[in-house]
Symmetry: C2
Subunit: 488 residues, 2 copies
Amino acid sequence: MKLKVKFLKLLAGRPVAILHKNFAEKASIHTDDRIYIEKRGKKLAAVVDIATGFLKENEIVVSSEIQKIISLREKSVVEVELAVKPESLGFIQKKLSGGRLNRQELEKIMADIVNNVLTESEIAYFISGICKSDMSIEEIKDMTLAVLNTGKRLNLKGKVIDKHSIGGIPGRTTPIIVSICSTAGLLMPKTSSRAITTPSGTADAVEVICKVDFTIKEIKKILKKTNACLVWGGSLNIAPADDKIIQVERLLNLAPEAQLLSSIMAKKLAVNAKVVLIEIPYGRNAKVTRKKAEELKKKFKKLAKYFRIKLKCILKRTEEPIGNGIGPLLEISDVIKVLKGESECYKLRGRALESAGQLLELTGKAKKGKGMEMAEKILDSGKAYEKFLAIVRAQRGSINNIEKIKAKYKRDIRADKRGKIRDIRIKQLNNLARIAGCPLDKAAGIYLHKHLNNIVKKGEKILTIYSQNKTELREALRYYRKTKPIRF
Amino acid sequence: MKLKVKFLKLLAGRPVAILHKNFAEKASIHTDDRIYIEKRGKKLAAVVDIATGFLKENEIVVSSEIQKIISLREKSVVEVELAVKPESLGFIQKKLSGGRLNRQELEKIMADIVNNVLTESEIAYFISGICKSDMSIEEIKDMTLAVLNTGKRLNLKGKVIDKHSIGGIPGRTTPIIVSICSTAGLLMPKTSSRAITTPSGTADAVEVICKVDFTIKEIKKILKKTNACLVWGGSLNIAPADDKIIQVERLLNLAPEAQLLSSIMAKKLAVNAKVVLIEIPYGRNAKVTRKKAEELKKKFKKLAKYFRIKLKCILKRTEEPIGNGIGPLLEISDVIKVLKGESECYKLRGRALESAGQLLELTGKAKKGKGMEMAEKILDSGKAYEKFLAIVRAQRGSINNIEKIKAKYKRDIRADKRGKIRDIRIKQLNNLARIAGCPLDKAAGIYLHKHLNNIVKKGEKILTIYSQNKTELREALRYYRKTKPIRF
């Protein structure tokens, strides 16, 4: 079948070809099918989109990727035919019907995900497959290695340490832990994610005061200066397959265990971590129940043993945000308060000290049972704050930036009666902060004046909503009234 | 977040908005997310695509759908925010984790599929969900009604009959059955599909000699003239949700039982059929095994009872193509030979007579056990052929069209030794015909000179490959040599 070329000057990330609806119907070609486009012996597989309006039945619109690779001109005539399906689709089918994939098959799938050979729908089928059947530890191990192999590595010498929190709970312990541990002489190249379903990831919060996207070479320079960094993992490309899978999971808020485990382990392996701490908050408002948390712990331990990583899990009932602020600016402000020794965020301080203490013990910096004491000493000496400032400087920023951005609009929510706070719904608060403009509007978010079990007088401030935009503030207020995230 | 509008003059079938990669990363917006685009109080949800090249970070490219609905101009500034997810996603999640969906939930999913609210990835999750858990008959019934409700109906009075074959086997019995039954006075408004994975659907074959896409009003006129029609179901929009689901299933060649059953039943209900015959070919080269065929039969019976349809299933071991031709022109030529009484395609004749006979018995036109005899009489009298010509005329065509199209290239495949044909691999033959250019090149395809268990002399013709294109013919030959679909 011959078609005339029209250009779409977009780089879509993968070769995209748009066919006219009528032509596609007759040729039995559908959205997301793959076709070969051929011109003078050069042949390329492209994913099909279908449209009308801009193109005629005998035309094909191609994205810049295709134009470049097979050097086409406008109105060139190309030969089009249905392409053979990628081999990895067979493996996905196997997983979806409950089969076990081996390392080679998982590697092919991951490579095809990273190279944009597989479409979002096909990745959705893969995710459904791993949701469906419980993967064995052996298979999760293979998937970890497959994910690891698609990405770059930070080849560091020395005893690298790392931490991870099974997310969903606002409150940034990470910058505090990193500052304390690197002050103690530990090497902590921390890579973090941006917000996925929460209003702010660690990377979004740190970005308020400094850059977070660096190349591997730049990160090595930062580490030389400060023994630590606080960067966005996405810019490093250490687990690109996983990044893509998480995108497709978000559509249904899925988090299959096998993917969670392999994702975290691959990222730790990519930075060559030898000692790892995993925080698993559990409870009715957290991502997992206590039982699930215990199961995850067991599996993390098994994987760590296989990869020869010293790993500890901290399980902690968590029923409310750990800090007072929710949103990039408000969360990094909490962090700075704790580092400066201000008393407001005692819960955030406690959690950070506990995790830092564990890492100090695991690495032998502190004796068993003495880690938290040591962490507290470092924090109270002001040295952790100095270290934090050094990291921010090395990442080309300044904490003075927090003074420069300010939300245009704010609104206090006050108690309409006296009472004790009995429930703080984290999910609804997260949604509320997102409606207010997080994570893109750095200054948007929520400040909690009260916490669980606090007694509140009538008319007292419970929380303040910040927003850059009147409409968003209005919608946030409407959402607050509808969902009542804080209950007496 | 404010962005400047740029136009993409395409109708993508649903509102599509393209964001710049850097902007999307910072805003935590990903491919297939939904955003609201707002301008002067008018607000629309659009699905996100991500690109670079053609647009700047502060720009948003919108498809013509959006431009029209919220009347934008180039360089208008719009407000963009993450949209609330459609309710149906929650139901899909429920199904994926093994829950049971009720009628209202299935209806919401089907409506969102038809209205392009759900993306291909989300439909893939739904399909995975129904693949995963065996749906009860009750749930399949609800799904049938949900599919039915998304489409149009052909409200016909009188005893409408219909037939369906669980596809995959080339050979068109349908036009023969329709011609015989309507000659006997039965009302048979036959809607057929185009090729899905085979080289030709009934609609593709019939399209060689006449039009197949008509509106419901036009079909009623055709039925008035001839008591029957042979049209493409897709143009009628009788089960658009199902059409979309099948597209996404094709990516992995999935055919979950619940979807198969609800799809067929919904289409029969849409034409108001009272008597239905289902052909279920089984065997190593067919879509299903004998056991699976028996199970399907039971479920069809249960559904038919619920919908008060008189239904019969014919289970038949089928190990090779039913006719000689594979491909639109070659298959319709077989049909005409049988209708004219030529002796070549005795197997196709036999199968068609058997099915027509069953329908004559089910409707009481023939006594029990005498249907096939009656069908044979009608066929041999030449009246069925006359009826067929009348249908073709009513559908604005002529069988002389088969003389007008002819494949440019052909190649005979001859036996390289003497022997008995022991295996004819249908799947490989189907692929072969598609490589040769089917279904778009109507004249492309395969003609089988020999069938299963035939003794072949060395040098004797086994099959002929037809193609419009030298390259395609060459590739078809290469595929034939590689896969050897016919084995001695």
